[in-house]
Amino acid sequence: MASTPHVAVIGGGSTGVGIARDLAMRGLDVTLVEQGNLTHGTTGRMHGLLHSGGRYAVSDQASATECIEENRVLRDIASHCVEMTGGLFVKRPEDSEEYFEQKLRGCEECGIPAEVVSREEARAMEPHLAKDIDKAISVPDGAIDPFRLVVANAADAQEHGARIETHSKVTDLLVEGDEVVGLEVEHDSGPGERVHGVESGREEIRADYVVNATGAWAGRIGDMAGVDIEVRPSKGVMTIMNVRQVDTVINRCRPKGDADIIVPHETTAILGTTDEEVEDPEDYPEEQWEVDMMIDTLKELVPMLEDARTIRSFWGVRPLYEPPDVGSDDPTDITRDYFLLDHEERDDLHGMTSIVGGKFTTYRMMGEEISDHVCEQFGIDAECRTADEPLPGSEDFSVLRDYMDEFGLRSPIGRRSVERLGSRADEVLKTDGPNPTVCECEGVTRAEIQDAISQSGSDLNAVRIRTRASMGNCQGGICIHRMASELHGVGASDASGGSGDGTSAGGYDEAVVRRAWDELLQERWKGQRHALWGQQLSQAMLNYALHATTQNRDNDPAGGDAVDFSAFDTGTPSGTGAAATDVATDGGATDGD
C-alpha cells in the first residue's frame, strides 16, 4: 500500500471504540465519530454485568462460550473497570428443577466454572436473599463500568493515533458509484474538545473504508447508502437502588423472563430488565408499570427491595439482529450473537461493513473480528493485540496504595478515587492545590473532575460518566453547580486553550458553563422521574428547592428578561454595614440604628 488506509468508524459505544483501538494498534489511520457522548447509545444504558456466560449456557451456548473467554480477557486488560463480584443463579421452589440441572450442565459444557450452593450457603453469602429459596449455582459473573471501559479504549486508540470525535452526527454517507468513500458529519461543537455551540459546522471525512458500529441505529446509517439493515431494537428498563442490597450478581434461575437480575455496581445495585421490541431506538415509552414490575418481581429473590430507595430508572435498547430467514416473534428468542454485514458481498456496495447484534461482554472480540475483516480488504497482515495489552489505567495496577496520606484525602474517598483511576491515580491525583471533594455521594475530588474536563472539554455529562460525580443519592442536587464552577475555573493548573474557542483566560466562558450546567441538571432529572416516591421524592423536592429557591436557577436573570435593578430595595444606611466607622466610603453609610 502506498499510504496507510484511513478507516472511519461510526459509533462511540463499546463496539466502536473496540474497533478503533484495534485498528489503531494495527497501524491504521482511524477516525471515530459519535453523535453524542461516548457510550451515548446502548453502552451507557445497560446494567454493567460482566457475563460469565451462565446466562446463555442453556439457550445460546456459542454466546456463553464467548462470554467466559472474554470475561477472562477483560479481567486482565481492564482490571480497573472490573469488580469480580461473583454471581448466583438462584432457584426458588416454584422454579423448575429440570432447568436448574440444565443450567448446571450447560455451564460445564461451555467451560464456565459453576458450583451448586445450598440455601444456607447462598444466604451466608447474601443475607438478604429470601428465606425460602431452594439453592443456587455460583458462577464468575462480575460488574464492569461501561463508561470507564469505553473511555479507556478511546484514550488508547488516541494514544495510537486515532481521532475521536464526539457530538458529531453523521448526516450523510459519501457514495461514489458503487462505493462508500466517506461520510459527512455535523459537529455540535467544532473539532477537538467539545465547546458548546461556539464553533460548529459540517465536515466531510473521506475514508478508504467505513465501519458502521452504531448498534440499534445501524439501519439509519444503512439508509444513507440505500442498503437495508433490519436491526430490531428491543428496550429494557433498569432501576438503580441507592445502596448495594447484594454484593454478588443475583440471577433468577429460570428460563427467559423479565426482571430477573440484580447487579451490584459501585455504590448502587441495578435491577434489570425487560425485553420488548420498539420501533424507534430514540423514541419509545418509558412507563411506571415497568419500574413497578422490576421491584415487585425481584423482591421474590430479595424481599427488602420492596421498601428500598430507588434513585432513578433508565431504559436502553438492544441492537438485536436476526438473519432475514428466521423470523422470531419474541425478542427474547433472538440470538445475542453478532453479525458482520459486508455490504460488498451483501448489497454490491463497496467500502463498508456494518456490525450488528452482540453483547457488551464480547465487544473486544467483535472488534477483533471486524478489524481482521478490514485488514483483509487491504491485504494487511497485522496481528491483533487487544487481548494482551492492558488498557490505560490497568497497567501494573495490583496494589491499592495508601493514597489517603499521600494526597491528603479522607480514607474512603482516597480508596474510591484510586479504584476508579487504577494506574492513572498518581498522574491525576498529584496536584499542587488543595483537592477538596466536589461530589460527596460518590467521593469525587476536584483533581478527578479537572482530569475529566481535560479529556472531554465543556461537556459536564462527559465529566459525569468519567468520574461518577452527580450519580449518587442526591443525583447532583448538591454538586452540579460545583461541577459547573470547576468548568469555569479550569485552567488554574491545566489550561485547555485560549479565548476565542469558548474558553476564557481562566477556563470556559460563563455562558458555555451555564449551558453545560443546565444540560446536566436536565439529564439528571430525566432518570429520577421514575423514582419519585418515598425518600427520593423528598430528595427531589430538596434538590428543586436548592436550585429554585436558594439559587433561583429557574428564573436566572442571566438567561431571561432584563431586570430593572433600580426598582428594588437598595438597603438602608443601617443595613449596609459598619465600614464607615473606620474609613469613609461613598455609600453614605452611617452608624445607624
Binding site: I478, E510, G534, A545, H547, T576, G577, A579
Partner: protein
C-alpha cells in the same frame, strides 16, 4: 398522666417556631415539640415573601401588592394580606433582619451567581444587595467548592447587575484541611483563633483581612461565602470591615447554612423568652381522638409519652421535612393521616422538565379559613388542629420564592387563633 399544655405545636421549623411564639405572646401556655434538625439548616437564611406569581411573573417588586390576586387555594389567600403584614411585624420584632423598612423586595446575590428576590435578609447579607450600585468584589476560598467567586461574579455580570463585579479565590489562612466543614471556618473566626501564616501565628480575622486587602481595587464592598462566624458573626464582620476599610457581607449558601442556623437560634431564644416550653429530639408518632385531637404520643427511648393540649398546631414541614410522605401507592400525612390531595397515577406527580410545573411541589393539606385541615369530604378533620408552613398544599414555594413568608404568615395565624380558643 399526660403532660398538659394549652397549645401544643408539633414541629420546630420556621412555621412551628412562629406559631408557638404568636400563641405564647397572646398569653397561652405553649409547648413545642420537634424531632430532627429543622430544614432551616438547608435554607439560605433569606426570608422570601413572594418573588414570582404562580404564572411566573416577576421578579416582583412588591409582594403585598400581588398577594390579593393569588389563587384561592394559596395559603396567603387563606390568611389574607393583613395577617401577612402582622406576621412580618412579629418576625421583625424578634429578629435583627433587614428589609423591613420597605414593602419592596430586595435582590440578593446567590452562591450560584444569580440574584433572588427576597423580603428580609440577614444584616450579614445587607451590603451585598444587587440593586445597590457600588462595585463589588467576591472572595472565595480555594477548598470550598460550594462557592466559586470568579464564576459567581461572571454569572452576576451576565445577569446585568448595575455595578462592576469581580471574583477572586484565595487560600483561607491557616492549615484547614481541604474538606473542612463550614462550621470549622466559622468557629475559627468566632474565636479569632491563631492561624499559621508564613511560619508566624496570627489571629484568624486579621490574617484573612490581610490576605484579601491587596486584592481590593476600587470596590467598596466585599462578599465572602456565609461562613463568617456563628455566635459572634456581627463581631467577625465588624472586625473585617475595620481592617479592610470596606463593607463586608456574606453570600448565602446551601446546606448546612449558617444564616439558617443563626435564624433558628434567634427564634428559639425568642420563644424561650416568651415563656414557652420546648422539647426537641423526639418524634410525635401517634394520636388519640375522633373529631377532636385528645392527645398525641411522643416516642422517647422506645416509650410512647402522651401529651395533651386544648389546641394543636401541625407544622411538620413538607416533603423535605417529612411532614408529607409518600410511597409507591400514594401521598400521606404521617401523624394524623390528614388528607393530602394527589393523583392516583404517580406519573402525574411531576413535570418532564427539571424546572417544570411540578404537582409534587404543591403536595400538602388543604384547610378551611382557620387553617384546619379538610378531609376528602371537605369537612374539618379535627376541630382543634391547625396546620402551618410547608405541610400546607396549594403553592409551590420553590418557584414562587414564598417558603419563609408562608411559614411565618400561616404560623402566626395558626398560633394566634389557637391562643384565642383557649382564652
Amino acid at each position: 398522666m399526660a403532660i398538659e399544655s394549652e397549645v401544643l405545636v408539633v414541629g420546630g421549623g420556621l412555621a412551628g417556631l412562629t406559631s408557638a411564639l404568636a400563641a405564647a405572646r397572646e398569653g397561652a401556655e405553649v409547648r413545642l415539640v420537634s424531632y430532627k434538625q429543622s430544614t432551616l439548616r438547608q435554607a439560605s437564611g433569606l426570608v422570601d415573601l413572594l418573588g414570582y406569581t404562580p404564572d411566573g411573573d416577576g421578579p416582583l417588586t412588591d409582594p403585598y401588592e400581588a398577594i390579593p390576586d393569588l389563587p384561592t387555594e394559596h395559603p396567603y389567600s387563606t390568611v389574607g394580606v393583613d395577617t401577612v403584614r402582622e406576621a412580618m411585624d412579629l418576625f421583625d420584632d424578634v429578629t435583627d433582619y433587614a428589609g423591613g423598612h420597605t414593602d419592596t423586595n430586595a435582590l440578593v446575590p446567590t452562591h450560584g451567581g444569580t440574584v433572588k428576590p427576597t423580603a428580609r435578609y440577614p444584616r450579614s447579607a445587607a451590603a451585598g444587595l444587587a440593586s445597590d450600585d457600588r462595585d463589588l468584589l467576591l472572595v472565595g476560598f480555594d477548598s470550598m467548592t460550594d462557592f466559586d467567586a470568579p464564576h459567581a461574579a461572571a454569572h452576576l455580570e451576565a445577569a446585568g447587575v448595575p455595578f462592576d463585579v469581580r471574583g477572586e479565590t484565595i487560600r483561607f489562612p491557616g492549615d484547614l484541611r481541604a474538606d473542612a466543614k463550614v462550621t470549622r471556618y466559622a468557629k475559627l473566626l468566632d474565636t479569632n483563633g491563631g492561624v499559621a501564616v508564613r511560619g508566624r501565628e496570627r489571629p484568624a480575622r486579621e490574617a484573612l483581612a490581610q490576605r484579601v486587602n491587596p486584592l481590593v481595587d476600587d470596590e467598596q464592598r466585599v462578599g465572602f461565602p456565609a461562613v463568617l462566624g456563628d455566635d459572634d458573626h456581627a463581631g467577625v464582620r465588624a472586625a473585617l470591615e475595620s481592617k479592610m476599610g470596606v463593607d463586608v457581607f456574606e453570600v448565602p449558601m446551601g446546606p448546612p447554612s449558617l444564616p439558617g442556623l443563626r435564624l433558628e437560634d434567634r427564634l428559639f431564644a425568642a420563644l424561650d423568652a416568651a415563656g414557652a416550653s420546648i422539647e426537641t429530639g423526639n418524634p410525635v408518632v401517634d394520636y388519640d381522638g375522633g373529631g377532636r385531637v385528645e392527645r398525641v404520643y411522643v416516642e422517647k427511648n422506645g416509650a410512647e409519652i402522651p401529651m395533651t393540649a386544648d389546641q394543636y398546631v401541625l407544622a411538620t414541614g413538607g416533603l423535605v421535612g417529612k411532614g408529607v410522605e409518600s410511597d409507591r401507592e400514594g401521598v400521606y400525612e404521617p401523624i394524623f393521616d390528614c388528607h393530602v390531595p394527589h393523583s392516583d397515577d404517580r406519573y402525574d406527580w411531576f413535570d418532564t422538565d427539571a424546572f417544570g410545573d411540578h404537582p409534587f411541589a404543591g403536595f400538602g393539606l388543604r384547610t378551611d379559613d382557620e387553617l384546619r385541615p379538610l378531609g376528602t369530604d371537605e369537612a374539618v378533620e379535627f376541630e382543634n388542629l391547625r396546620a402551618a408552613g410547608s405541610v400546607l398544599g396549594g403553592y409551590d414555594f420553590a418557584a414562587e420564592k414564598s417558603g419563609s413568608g408562608v411559614s411565618i404568615a400561616t404560623g402566626y395565624a395558626a398560633g394566634t387563633s389557637a391562643a384565642a380558643e383557649v382564652r
